[in-house]
């Protein structure tokens, strides 16, 4: 991949082993300014490790991580980054306002604290001690800590997990605003609707490598056509040769087909298995596109 001049964070040919197992394999990734990048992939794909390398929590075995041109382990490299961690705690005895004030003090051009609290929906909880917050409220505090410094790179690890719908939508709006102001946003998520709604660019990872890197629209187009789901005795190997079918796999108790010609496929499918039930046909979604990519990747690996 070309080193983008506007890239604020890059991984170049980075490999990392954790606990003796390879997690990342000569990975290249550049995060550009003004762009929301969503990192998707199954558990163990290397998303969190990639984020850890970019935020200075881990060091690469080989290759290079750069944050604003510096080694992410240096505090100065992190001066313009805000991070929302997934599993981090909060100091129980500090109040929300105290913690946000302390964190704002790490940044040169921080937002006023009341503004940060308002954006994160925490104004009413400012004097509450962190130990007395609910899970969703604690997530909002982490979010406030990430955005209080008006960062040029916002890193969000599963940002809306454990958040209620309204809070999540508020977060989405702020993320869009930050990107419109020129910030780079890197997020990991399991919620594909979230990726589809927010991301300008989706990077799909599997087994330590990038298997796709494109806009959500382009990825949907790549999956193409329609998705058919049904319960049938027909094995995927037989379904794969039906007219129009590009891809056939078993998904739980169901057969899942991606087809360029839904009508032709359904007609022959019903002929092949008259006892077929639970037939559904829908347009390929981002989720389908990614499922197809990962399935294809698995076949190559196997």
């Amino acid at each position: 991949m070309m080193q983008d001049l506007a890239a604020v964070a890059t991984l170049t040919a980075v490999s990392k082993r954790l606990g003796g197992k390879p997690v990342l394999d000569r990975l290249n990734l550049a995060i550009g300014a003004g762009e929301v990048t969503a990192l998707l992939g199954p558990n163990g794909a290397g998303k969190t490790t990639s984020v850890s390398l970019l935020t200075g929590r881990l060091r690469a075995d080989t290759g290079e991580a750069r944050l604003f041109g510096l080694d992410p382990a240096r505090p100065a490299a992190r001066a313009r980054m805000g991070v929302m961690l997934q599993a981090a705690g909060l100091p129980d005895v500090m109040t929300v306002a105290e913690l946000v004030t302390l964190q704002s003090g790490y940044y040169r051009d921080a937002r006023p604290v009341p503004e940060t609290l308002a954006v994160a929906g925490l104004s009413d909880l400012a004097q509450r001690r962190c130990g007395a917050l609910s899970g969703g409220q604690a997530r909002r505090v982490h979010y406030a800590l990430a955005l209080c410094g008006r960062p040029d790179l916002l890193v969000l690890d599963e940002p809306t997990a454990a958040m209620d719908r309204a809070s999540a939508r508020g977060l989405w709006a702020t993320v869009r605003e930050a990107a419109a102001d020129g910030a780079a946003v890197l997020m990991t998520t399991h919620d594909l609707a979230e990726a589809d709604a927010l991301a300008d660019r989706v990077v799909v990872m599997d087994a330590g490598r990038i298997v796709a890197d494109d806009t959500p629209a382009a990825l949907r187009a790549r999956a193409g056509g329609s998705v058919i789901r049904c319960r049938t005795i027909l094995p995927p190997s037989r379904a794969a040769i039906l007219p129009g079918v590009r891809e056939a796999c078993v998904d739980g108790a169901e057969l899942r087909l991606v087809t360029a010609d839904a009508v032709a496929t359904v007609r022959t499918l019903l002929d092949a298995d008259p006892a077929l039930t639970d037939l559904r046909v829908h347009d390929a979604s981002l989720e389908d596109a990614i499922a197809s990519l990962l399935a294809a990747d698995e076949r190559i690996a196997a």
């Binding site: 200075g56 992190r78 980054m81």
Partner: protein
């Protein structure tokens, strides 16, 4: 090129926040602050029914160093293991805050706790008749407060490398070892030779000897050497704490 500079005052704000935070966790602080005074009162003053003012002052030297070890090793040293397990260090590590500010905050809060602990001991010593000049009190207080630093750094290094439970157990063992082998409870001159030998490798021994020199009681060896060794050991302890921060998992 974009400015990477960090704002000023990070250290100061971090120290104040940590002191305020520890103030709100009295269950951690009260035992470490009270224990040394209780020991001093029991072993020096209560057992010896009519302690001579000189004896009260002599043991004050060692117990003051002992009072610095508790808060430094436990609350602010081994305590970082628990903070790590709760993901609090993670929060700091991805922020622009430099590691030095985190350590400075721990040292500052530990020093405040030490001040409370030695304040109690000094009160007991005065009640028992210890008579020191204002210069001696000043020098002794400075030495006792400074004693916090090497032990807090040792504790942070332990806390960065071990689980919360492991760190507390290790801190306990070190606490006892530093106190006994360093001659803080029983003067080193009265200890068996091998214990004295081990003690020479511990900062508690050298700090204890410096404190004994200040109160004007009998000492072993050259004070310049003791001072130099304390500085060298503090340097090693900073490396131990720093590498712990760098390598600590997650």
């Amino acid at each position: 090129m974009i400015a990477h500079a960090l704002p000023s005052g990070i250290w100061r704000r971090e120290c104040l926040a940590e002191i305020r935070r520890s103030w709100r966790l009295p269950q951690f602080l009260v035992p470490t602050v009270l224990t040394p005074a209780a020991f001093y009162g029991l072993f020096t003053l209560a057992i010896d029914k009519a302690p001579s003012p000189d004896a009260a002052a002599a043991s004050l030297a060692g117990y003051g160093v002992f009072a610095a070890i508790g808060p430094a090793l436990f609350g602010f040293g081994a305590g970082v293991a628990m903070e790590r397990e709760q993901g609090l260090i993670e929060l700091k590590r991805v922020s622009p805050m430099p590691a030095s500010a985190y350590v400075a905050a721990k040292l500052a809060a530990a020093t405040v706790a030490t001040a409370a602990a030695i304040g109690l001991i000094y009160l007991l010593a005065i009640v028992a008749g210890a008579a020191l000049s204002p210069e001696q009190w000043m020098a002794l207080a400075l030495l006792h407060l400074a004693s916090t630093i090497p032990f807090a750094l040792i504790g942070i290094g332990v806390g960065m490398r071990m689980s919360g439970k492991g760190a507390v157990a290790t801190a306990n063992a070190l606490f006892l070892g530093f106190a006994v082998l360093g001659g803080l409870w029983i003067p080193s001159a009265m200890l068996p030779g091998w214990m004295r030998g081990v003690g020479e490798f511990l900062p508690s021994y050298h700090l204890g000897q410096l404190a004994r020199a200040i109160v004007g009681t009998d000492t072993i060896g050259s004070m310049t050497v003791h001072g130099a060794l304390v500085l060298a050991m503090t340097g090693l302890a900073s490396v131990w704490a720093w590498t712990g921060w760098r390598r600590s998992p997650a």
